[in-house]
Every structure is written in structure tokens, then in C-alpha cells.
């Protein structure tokens, strides 16, 4: 079929032209969350060009492999993902449809954060009757600054590996970030001392690392099982159960529906605390430092 052959030749010609183009100056990074985008910016400065696949108002698990993301995956030099199956619905589609070998799992251009840190809540057995549980453990690892330090170190090394021309630049920035981060972490831990052993109610299991870090006690979760919205009956049970051990506050993320939390708040007389969860979740959470500053400020304000 002549039309067919002609179109194939045209495709091949275009592909060759594209292959011959010189490499872009800035390293193109596709980050799955605003937190990873913020971290890449901290480490890469103006040597990186970061595109964020989701915002703080999106549940990262529920994203579609939409056309704009395939386009960004096509040109990316580096993908920074959470891993631990958080992006399982869409990342494999992006990777396959992109036709970009640089970012395939196992290549230097594919970076997963969660496998680098100690994952909490790794189930000993999994079954879909347990809700949206993650076989590899709880993937919401960002809200512990000690995890960020570990991930930042590996990510800086990865930037050096991919873009060796700017190795010294990344090394300096990585060093500087670690210095500032250590300092900030000490400050946060000191400031958050009054939060230790404070009882809280969460919505989803995505505050596990924050609670673990600050010593907050998770008394209950509004979702009866991960990803399963509460029924009225379950909420009533929760009210009864929490009467014995009243929590000080109910934690809600920017992307959560406030209704169930507010309903519970009225009945158990504990305030709902809106937390940014991700960079951009509140106006104050402008970067990773702001994210932790604001999270702790909001928790402390609710304690008073």
C-alpha cells in the first residue's frame, strides 16, 4: 500500500531528525508529586527543568495516564516517582507509551523514593478484601524529614550520574541542602515536642510517617479500610469507641473530602486540622521547608 509505505518513511525521517537534535541544556525531570518536584528543584537549581504530574489537591493514586503526561514522559531525562505501587495505575502506562528508554525501570533515568527508606505497615499477607493496601508497605513516606534526607542524598547522586557535566554543581547544592535540612529537622523536632503522645484521628493511612516521627498516637482512621469511605454505621461506632480515649484532633489533608471529618468533629468535640500533606497544599507550604514548618505550626495551633 503506497500511502502506508509513504507514511512509514515519513515517520522514520522525522524520528531520525529528532534523534539528531542536540541535547537540551536543562535536565528535564518528570516528578510524580509536588514534593519530589520541590526536592529536585532544591538539588538541581537552574540546571533542571521540572514538570509536576500532580498537585497537592490530587490523590496521586487516582491519576489517569493523560495525554499531557505521556508527552512529558516522552521528553524526560529523569522520572522521580514515589514507587511502592502508589503510581501503579498510570506510571507503567506512561513508561510504555512514552517510547523513551532513558526513563525505564532499571535505567538511571528512573528514580523511586520509597524503596530507599524503611516502609511502615508492610502487610504480612495481602488480599483485596482489606481495601487499597499496598503489598510493599505504606507509600506515603514524605512526611518524615529523616526520609527526605535519605532520599535527597540518593537523588543528588542520581543527578550527578545522569548529568555528569554539572556534577560539582549538584554536589554543592546537595551538601548545602543536607546542611540546612539537618538544622531544620532539629528545629522541628524541638518545636514539636509537645505533640508527643497526643492522640489523633486520621482519614486515610497517609499520615503514618508523620505520626511515627512526631510520636502522635493514631487512635483511629475515618476510613474503615484504606480507600474505603466510611458508612454512617461505622462513623457511629467510631464515636462510641473514641468516647473512652478522646483524640485531641482530627487530621485532614488538602485533597481529602472534609465532610466525614467535620461530622466526626462535631460529635467528639475535637477540631479538624487541615494539613498541607504536599508542597502547595496550603499557601504557606511553598517548598519542603514550608511544608514541615506549616504542618507543625498547624498541629501546635490545634493543641492550644
Amino acid at each position: 500500500m503506497p500511502e502506508y509505505v509513504r507514511s512509514l518513511l515519513a515517520l522514520a525521517a522525522v524520528a531520525l531528525c529528532v534523534a539528531a537534535l542536540p541535547a537540551q541544556a536543562a535536565l528535564k525531570v518528570l516528578a510524580t508529586t509536588p514534593d519530589w518536584a520541590a526536592l529536585v528543584t532544591e538539588l538541581g537549581g537552574d540546571k533542571v527543568n521540572v514538570y509536576t504530574a500532580t498537585s497537592a489537591f490530587q490523590d496521586v493514586h487516582r491519576v489517569d495516564a493523560k495525554p499531557s503526561l505521556v508527552a512529558r514522559a516522552r521528553t524526560a531525562d529523569l522520572v522521580v516517582a514515589t514507587g511502592a505501587d502508589l503510581e501503579i495505575g498510570w506510571m507503567p502506562v506512561l513508561l510504555q507509551d512514552s517510547g523513551n528508554t532513558k526513563i525505564q525501570p532499571g535505567s538511571p533515568g528512573y528514580f523511586e523514593a520509597a524503596p530507599l527508606v524503611h516502609l511502615l505497615e508492610v502487610p504480612s499477607a495481602v488480599d483485596r478484601s482489606m481495601g487499597d493496601i499496598h503489598p510493599l508497605g505504606n507509600p506515603h513516606v514524605t512526611l518524615d524529614p529523616r526520609n527526605i534526607a535519605i532520599i535527597a542524598k540518593a537523588l543528588a547522586a542520581r543527578l550527578v550520574l545522569i548529568d555528569s557535566a554539572n556534577a560539582a554543581y549538584y554536589a554543592t547544592r546537595g551538601e548545602d541542602f543536607q546542611k540546612r535540612w539537618q538544622q531544620a529537622t532539629v528545629g522541628w523536632e524541638a518545636k514539636a515536642a509537645p505533640l508527643r503522645s497526643v492522640g489523633v484521628v486520621v482519614i486515610h493511612r497517609d499520615q503514618a510517617y508523620l505520626c511515627n516521627w512526631l510520636g502522635l498516637k493514631e487512635l483511629a482512621s475515618i476510613e474503615p479500610k484504606p480507600g474505603v469511605p466510611p458508612s454512617v454505621g461505622y462513623l457511629a461506632e467510631l464515636v462510641a469507641k473514641l468516647a473512652a480515649t478522646p483524640p485531641k484532633m482530627i487530621l485532614r489533608n488538602a485533597y481529602n473530602d472534609p465532610r466525614a471529618a467535620e461530622w466526626l468533629s462535631e460529635r467528639i468535640h475535637a477540631p479538624v486540622v487541615l494539613l498541607p500533606y504536599s508542597v502547595g497544599g496550603t499557601p504557606e507550604a511553598k517548598d519542603l521547608f514550608g511544608l514541615f514548618d506549616d504542618t507543625i505550626n498547624r498541629l501546635l495551633a490545634a493543641l492550644k
Binding site: M1, E3, Y4, L8, L11, V14, A15, V18, L21, T54, S55, F57, Q58, V63, D64, A65, K66, P67, S68, V70, A71, R74, T75, D85, G89, P92, V93, D97, S98, G99, N100, T101, Q104, P115, L116, V117, H118, R128, D144, R146, K153, A156, A157, V160, S164, A171, G174, E175, Q178, Q182, Q183, E189, A193, R196, N212, W213, L214, G227, P229, Y255
Partner: protein, 477 residues
């Protein structure tokens, strides 16, 4: 040239085949070796430089951590339990396991209850040559629909493999898709081969359990037999642009309607498609596309009745060319579909067929020229009005036009002898509500006012279930 023994001939033949064999090639070998050696040295030195840099960076970071004034090396006495700081290596202690490379397996269960006001055996979209299958709402009462088994995995560093087999309620098995796909071509190129759903249109590539309605639009049923599966090869290229730009081409055997299996070595189903997509703000994403399909068929038979009401079998031989324009738009607050999402989608298909139409091939067997220019479209909207609850509305419309039939024009037969091809404008309106208890289960109620028949309206109630087991499905756009 001296006469050679068969063995010598074989040696000469083999040496010709092997690029490095033969005396003339020894120089090339030496040159190649030298080149390889140079490459090796070059890479070794580069790797050494990189290693040195990484070491430098790591030690710098470690020094920074140690030298940090006021940073206590361990958590303060009253601090919460510190997390163990693992090395960035996978957990040790896993012994070798023969099942470690098992592919991802998933099984979809579907079934329905149908209440139809008209006999489904008489279902026909008026005005069009019917496809061999894929038309109509299915049988009445309870029906086991397809149980779809998918096995998928990377084959090696170069290929991905996928098999989707639909075990039908009538105990037959359809191989819906069985393809390999390249994963190492780079430059945005992907080649697929085997049997696969064609990339033409929007809905064609989507498996039935991901449809927003229990059945396909009328125009897909009539023009593509429900869904076009190619036995052939496909190449796709994604442009390196911020907007999504994708071009694709396919060549197939034409085995699937509107083509037919032909006793020919040539290709009989060629397709071209182009997609463009992007976002508007953080709440809206869209994709539009155009596709062209060229299929050839030989003796594509269909059942009809003549002007006396006698059943006859007619057959079309010729070319079928279809243009498709498609558009899809999704909106969700901040792009998060957890609580609300709106999806608008529409496609327009135009088909021209030209060739020979044979009348009553088992009896009178007359043949003459045939040409038609026909079109159809649908538009549908689905809204998630409450978490897990969605409602949808779809409208279908088809325009058959009046095909030109040589046997009629030459006066051999009256137009009434081709009952199925009488000019018609079938339409259908469908509403649906579905409830997804989780990402893996869905219950749906659908009601349609179906005016596809030339005669009477069919009122169709479908209650459907869809359950997904096993590997997590893909969230395709």
C-alpha cells in the same frame, strides 16, 4: 571457475554469509577490534571519573552531616523511636523462587440481566450491511458475558507481551489481543505486532470492562463490528513536544470486519491515525484524533430477505474506507476524580464502500456494482455526581444514505430486493447509572430507547456487573 565439491560450495556459501569470514575481512576485524578497544578504554575512564565524582559527593554529604553543629547524632532521650535507617538495597533473605518472574495476571468477570421489548434475534441497524457479529444488545434475561483473562509481562529488555482472552458466556474463547510491543526503540517509537485493537478512533482500543456504557455506540457496531482487532503490525511515534502529539500506522490481514480473510499474501487492512492532547488549567484534560482505515474484503457475506420475504445470502467484495474524528474531554476539580468527574466524548465516522455486491449467492447468484457513502456519530457525557456514583447520557445517530446498486440500476432487481439497504436514519438514546464500590467492582443499570430497527422501537434495560481480580488495571485516559 573450477568445479567445486558440494562441501567446498557450502564453505564458500557460509563464508559469504558470515560478514567477518573470508580473507578480505581480516583487515576489517582488526579495525573493529581496535575500535572496540578504544571504546572500552574511553568508557572505562569515563566510568572511573563518574565513580570518583559519586564518592566525592557521598563523602561530602557525610562530612556535612557529621560536621553539623548542634545536630545530635542520635535522637534526644525523650525522642520518639527512631526509624531504622536501612541501606538502599532490597531486603535480604529472599531465596531463589521459580515464580518470581510470573507475569501479571488479571481476570475480569462480567455479566448482565437484559429486558428487551423486541426479539433480539431480529435486531438490525436499518440501512446498513450488517457486520458478522457485534451488533445488538445480546440475549434476554440473565447472561454470562465475557470473562476476560489478561496475562502481561516484559519478555526481555526489548519486548513486552500481552495476551487478553475473552472466555464467552457460550463457552467459546476469543483471543481479543495477543501482541508483543517494543520497549527499547527509544525516540518515542513503539512497534506492536500480533493481534491488537486498532488505534483508530478513541473507543476502539478500550476493553469492554472500561466502557462507560454496557454496549458500544451503534456506529462502532455497524462500521467496525463492535471493535476492530488487527492481525498485523502497528508503529506509533510520540513527538518530543509539550503537547501530546502521536502518529501511528497499521497494516493488517483484514481478518476483522470491515475486511475479510482473503486468500492473498497482500495486506488488506491499513490504518493511519494522529492524536493531539493536553491540559487546560489543572482541572481539564483533552484529546482529539483523526483516523483513516482502508480495508478490503472478498465475499463478505450477510443475511437479508428479498422483496418476497425469502431469506437470501448476499456478499460484498471491494474496498471499505472509513474516516474517524474523535474528541474526549475530562474535567475534575483540581484534576482529582475521587469525588467528582465529568467526561465528554464523541466520535464521527464516515465510510465509503465500493466494489461488487452479489445477490443470493447460494441461488440466483447475480452480481453488480455497489457503492455507498454512509456515516454515523455518537456523543456521550458521564458525570460522577457523588463519590463512587456516576450517571451518563449517550445519543447515537446513523445516516445510511441510498447506496448505488448496479443490479437495481440496470433493472435486474427492484430496490426492495435489498431489504437491509433501504435508506434509514437509525438513532438511539441511552441513560445509565453505575456504582463502583471500589476501584475493582462496578454495578450498572442502563436503559435505552433504541430506534435502530426500521420498524419498532426497542426498549432495553440492562443490569450489569463488572469485577476485576488480580493485577491492578491501568488508568488509561
Amino acid at each position: 571457475m573450477a568445479k567445486l565439491t558440494p562441501i567446498a560450495e557450502a564453505i564458500v556459501f557460509v563464508s559469504l554469509l558470515l560478514p567477518n569470514a573470508g580473507q578480505a575481512a581480516t583487515d576489517d576485524v582488526a579495525a573493529l577490534r581496535a575500535e572496540l578497544e578504544a571504546l572500552k578504554t574511553d568508557y572505562t575512564s569515563r566510568v572511573q571519573v563518574l565513580e570518583a565524582r559519586i564518592k566525592q559527593l557521598e563523602s561530602a554529604v557525610a562530612t556535612a552531616q557529621l560536621a553539623q553543629p548542634g545536630a545530635p547524632p542520635a535522637a534526644p532521650a525523650a525522642a520518639p523511636p527512631a526509624l531504622p535507617q536501612p541501606s538502599p538495597v532490597a531486603a535480604p533473605g529472599k531465596s531463589s523462587n521459580a515464580t518470581a518472574f510470573n507475569p501479571a495476571i488479571s481476570m475480569i468477570l462480567t455479566g448482565n440481566y437484559a429486558s428487551l421489548s423486541q426479539d433480539p434475534a431480529s435486531y438490525r441497524v436499518a440501512g446498513f450491511i450488517p457486520p458478522p457479529s457485534g451488533e445488538g444488545p445480546g440475549n434476554r434475561s440473565f447472561n454470562l458475558d465475557e470473562s476476560e483473562l489478561t496475562v502481561a509481562s516484559n519478555v526481555d529488555p526489548y519486548f513486552f507481551g500481552n495476551v487478553t482472552a475473552a472466555i464467552q458466556g457460550n463457552n467459546s474463547i476469543d483471543i481479543e489481543e495477543a501482541y508483543f510491543k517494543t520497549i527499547a526503540l527509544n525516540h518515542g517509537l513503539t512497534i506492536k505486532g500480533g493481534r491488537f485493537f486498532s488505534g483508530t478512533g478513541y473507543l476502539n482500543e478500550i476493553h469492554s470492562h472500561n466502557w462507560d456504557f454496557a454496549d458500544q455506540p451503534l456506529v462502532y457496531q455497524v462500521f467496525l463490528g463492535g471493535q476492530l482487532a488487527q492481525d498485523g503490525a502497528q508503529i506509533r511515534w510520540v513527538a518530543p513536544t509539550d503537547y501530546f502529539v502521536e502518529l501511528g500506522a497499521e497494516a493488517g490481514s483484514g481478518r476483522s470486519f470491515p475486511g475479510t480473510q482473503r486468500n492473498s499474501n497482500s495486506l488488506a487492512s491499513d490504518a493511519l491515525f494522529a492524536h493531539l492532547g493536553g491540559d487546560v488549567g489543572d482541572s481539564t484534560s483533552w484529546r482529539v484524533g483523526v483516523s483513516w482505515l482502508d480495508a478490503r474484503s472478498t465475499d463478505r457475506a450477510y443475511d437479508d430477505v428479498d422483496q418476497f420475504g425469502t431469506p437470501v445470502t448476499n456478499a460484498f467484495t471491494g474496498t471499505s474506507r472509513t474516516w474517524i474524528a474523535d474528541g474526549t474531554l475530562k474535567w475534575a476539580p483540581h484534576g482529582d476524580p475521587t469525588y467528582h468527574q465529568f467526561k465528554l466524548q464523541g466520535e464521527y465516522l464516515h465510510r465509503t464502500e465500493s466494489g461488487q455486491l452479489a445477490f443470493d449467492v447460494t441461488g440466483r447468484n447475480l452480481a453488480g456494482d455497489y457503492s455507498s457513502s454512509q456515516s454515523g456519530w455518537y456523543v456521550q457525557a458521564v458525570y460522577e455526581f457523588l463519590q463512587r456514583w456516576r450517571a451518563g447520557l449517550r445519543y447515537d445517530s446513523m445516516q445510511s444514505g441510498t447506496p448505488s446498486i448496479g443490479l437495481v440500476q440496470l433493472g435486474f432487481l427492484p430496490r426492495a430486493a435489498f431489504a437491509s439497504l433501504a435508506s434509514a436514519s437509525p438513532e438511539r438514546t441511552t441513560i445509565m447509572v453505575d456504582w463502583s464500590l471500589s476501584e475493582f467492582s462496578r454495578l450498572r443499570a442502563q436503559y435505552a430507547w433504541d430506534d435502530a430497527r426500521a420498524t419498532e422501537r426497542d426498549r432495553q434495560l440492562l443490569l450489569q456487573y463488572i469485577f476485576a481480580m488480580g493485577a491492578h488495571g491501568a488508568h488509561k485516559f
